[in-house]
Amino acid sequence: MIRLRAKISSSRGQSTNISHKVGTWSFSAFVILLLTVIFFPGLFAPYDPLELDVINRLQAPSKAHLFGTDEGGRDIFSRVLYGTKDSVGASMVIVLMASGTGTILGAIAGWFGGRIDFYLMRMVDVFLSFPYLVLAMALAASLGRDMRSAILALILVWWPSYARMVRGQVLSIKERLFIRAARTVGASNFQILFWHIIPHTYRTVGVRASMDVGYVLISLTGLSFLGLGAQNPSPEWGLMISNARSYVLASWWYSVFPGIAILLVVSLFIYAADRFSGAER
C-alpha cells in the first residue's frame, strides 16, 4: 500500500557490496587483458597472422595450431588474437566517441532547452527512426568499403541514443539544489555543464557504454561479414567468419573459433553492464 521500503532499503546489507566489488575487479582484470591483447598481440600469438603457409592449409586444431589453420595456412589462434584490435578495439573506440558526443550534445540540449534542444532532438529522432543496422549499412556503403567508414558509420548511428538518454537525465539534474547553489556563486553555463552536470551522468553512461561495446561488436563484425567493413587479409573476426563460409562443413574450426571469441566478449560486456546497473539500484 504505502512505500515502506523506501525507508528501509537505504541501509541494505554489506553482502551486495562485496560481490559488487568482486565483480568490478574481475571485470577490470578482463578489460586490462583485452587491452594488452589489443596493443601487444605479439606477446601471446605464436605466429604472424598474415604469413601464408599453403602446405598447412585448413589443418584441424593441433598442438602446433591451437585453433587450426585457414585456407592460406595462417594460424587461426594468432589471427583471432591479432583481430582483437580490429574487432574489440574498434568497438571500444566507437562507443567512446559515440557516448562522448552523445553526452555532450545531450547535456547541451537538456541544459539550454528551447531552440537548441528542439533542433538537436529532431536530429536525434531522424537517426533513431531508422533500424540502426540498416542505417549503418547504408552509411558504411556510401562512405566507402573499408574499416574507417564502418567505424564512422557506427559512431553516427550510435550517438543519438546517448544524447537522448543524457538529455533526460540532465532535465532532472538541472533542477537539483546544488545547481542553484552553483549559480549563486557565479558559475557560468559552461562551468555548470562540465563541472556539475556531466559528471553526474557518468555512471549511467558508463553502464550503457559497457553494454554497448558488446552490441557494437556484433554490428561491426556484421558489417565486416557483409563486406562493408574490414577488408582481406585483415584478421577481423566478422571477416574471418565470412571467409569461412565456404568451408563450414569440412573445416568447422575456421568459423567456430572467431565466433566463440565474439560470443565471449559480447556476453562478458553485457553481463558486466547488467551487474553494474544492478548494484546501482
Binding site: 537539483r176 539544489l177 546544488f178 547553489a181 549563486t184 556563486v185 556539475h196
Partner: protein
C-alpha cells in the same frame, strides 16, 4: 544605516496551465548594511520565491530590486560578476545543496575558482581557514558530502557562502531540515558570524522562534503578500496583524488550553480568496469589508507596518504615522 538591498513593488506570478499562483504581490522590503531581516511565513507563502528573485534565479514580472542602489538586472548582466561575489545563499537542504561527487574542499573552493581569486595554494589555505571559522576540523576537507551529518553539511554550506566575503547572505530555511539541538548550533554559528563579520542577512524560516532569535527586523508573509513588518521586539510582543498573532501562538511552548484550541482554528489551511485580504478566510476578525477591499500596507507609530484593514479597530490605541 545605508540601504544595501531594496525590494520595490515586486510582483511574480507563476502560471501552470490555467491556474495562476501569485507568489509575490507588491512586496516592499529593504535591508540595511549589516542588518538581519527575518522573513516568516508558511510554505507556499512566497518567501522562497522572493529569495530566488533576489538571487536572480527567477525573473520578476514587475517592480525592481536594487543592490547598493543599482538595478539587479544590470548587475546580473555585468561581466565582472561582482553581484555574485557580494550576495551569497544558504539553502534548506544541506545535503542537496552540495554536489555529491565533489569533495568538501572542492565545494568550498568553487566560488574562489569561479571568480578567479587566488592560486591553488592560497585557495587551499583559505578553505582551511573557512573550515575553522565554521568549527569543522581539517580532515573534513577531503571527505564527500555523504560522509557528513546534516549539521556538519550546513556548516560546509555556510563556509562556502562566506568564501567570497559577501555583504549579504540569503538564508532560505537554513535550519528547518535539522534536529532541534543541531538547529541551535547552526543558529549560534549565524549569530557569531554576524557579530564577527557584520554581514547583512535575509533569514527566511517558517518558525518565528528561530527568526526572532537572530533578526533585527521581521517581515511576515502570507499568500504572496507582506502582512506586517517591524522591529523584532514589536512584532513578537505587540503584533498588530491577526496572522502574526496566529504564528506567535503556534511557536510558543504552551500547554493545552481552551484559548489555545480557539487559536488552533487559525491554522486550518483555507483557499486563498481571489479578492480582498488573503487571510480573511481564516481571520477571526474578518468582516465583509475585508473580503472586498484590496489590502494596503500602512505605517503605524512605533515603526510597525501592517496590512490589516481593521488594525485600528482591534487596537484602538494604535496611531497612524
Amino acid at each position: 544605516m545605508a540601504q544595501l538591498l531594496q525590494i520595490l513593488d515586486v510582483n511574480k506570478t507563476f502560471k501552470s496551465g490555467n491556474s495562476k499562483v501569485k507568489a509575490c504581490q507588491e512586496i516592499n522590503l529593504t535591508i540595511g548594511e549589516g542588518e538581519v531581516v527575518g522573513l516568516v511565513g508558511e510554505s507556499g507563502s512566497g518567501k522562497s520565491t522572493l529569495a530566488n528573485l533576489v538571487l536572480g534565479l527567477e525573473k520578476l514580472d514587475s517592480g525592481s530590486i536594487k543592490f547598493e542602489g543599482v538595478e539587479l538586472e544590470k548587475l546580473l548582466k555585468d561581466k565582472s560578476k561582482s553581484f555574485r561575489r557580494e550576495v551569497q545563499a544558504v539553502f534548506q537542504h544541506p545535503l542537496l545543496s552540495l554536489d555529491s561527487r565533489k569533495t568538501i574542499a572542492w565545494s568550498i573552493a568553487e566560488p574562489l575558482v569561479i571568480n578567479k581569486i587566488g592560486n591553488s595554494a592560497s585557495r587551499k589555505a583559505r578553505v582551511l581557514e573557512l573550515l575553522a571559522a565554521v568549527a569543522l576540523d581539517e580532515g573534513t576537507a577531503s571527505k564527500y558530502p555523504s560522509q557528513l551529518s546534516g549539521g556538519q553539511l550546513q556548516r560546509v554550506n555556510i563556509a562556502r557562502a562566506l568564501a567570497l566575503e559577501p555583504k549579504l547572505i540569503i538564508c532560505d530555511e537554513p535550519v528547518s531540515a535539522l534536529d532541534v539541538s543541531v538547529q541551535a548550533q547552526i543558529v549560534n554559528l549565524f549569530l557569531d558570524i554576524q557579530k564577527r563579520l557584520g554581514v547583512a542577512m535575509l533569514f527566511i524560516s517558517h518558525d518565528l522562534a528561530v527568526v526572532r532569535h537572530i533578526s533585527d527586523r521581521i517581515a511576515v508573509m502570507y499568500a504572496g503578500k507582506i502582512m506586517e513588518i517591524g522591529d523584532t521586539d514589536d512584532i513578537c510582543e505587540s503584533p498588530i496583524h491577526p496572522y502574526t498573532q496566529a504564528l506567535l501562538s503556534a511557536s510558543t511552548f504552551t500547554e493545552e488550553s481552551d484559548e489555545g484550541r480557539e487559536k488552533l482554528k487559525l491554522f486550518r489551511r483555507e483557499e486563498v480568496p481571489q479578492k480582498g485580504c488573503p487571510f480573511s478566510t481564516r481571520c477571526p476578525h474578518a468582516i465583509a469589508l475585508c473580503r472586498e477591499e484590496e489590502i494596503k500596507i500602512q505605517s503605524f507609530a512605533s515603526n510597525q507596518e501592517s496590512s490589516c484593514l481593521r488594525a485600528q479597530e482591534i487596537f484602538p490605541n494604535l496611531a497612524k504615522k
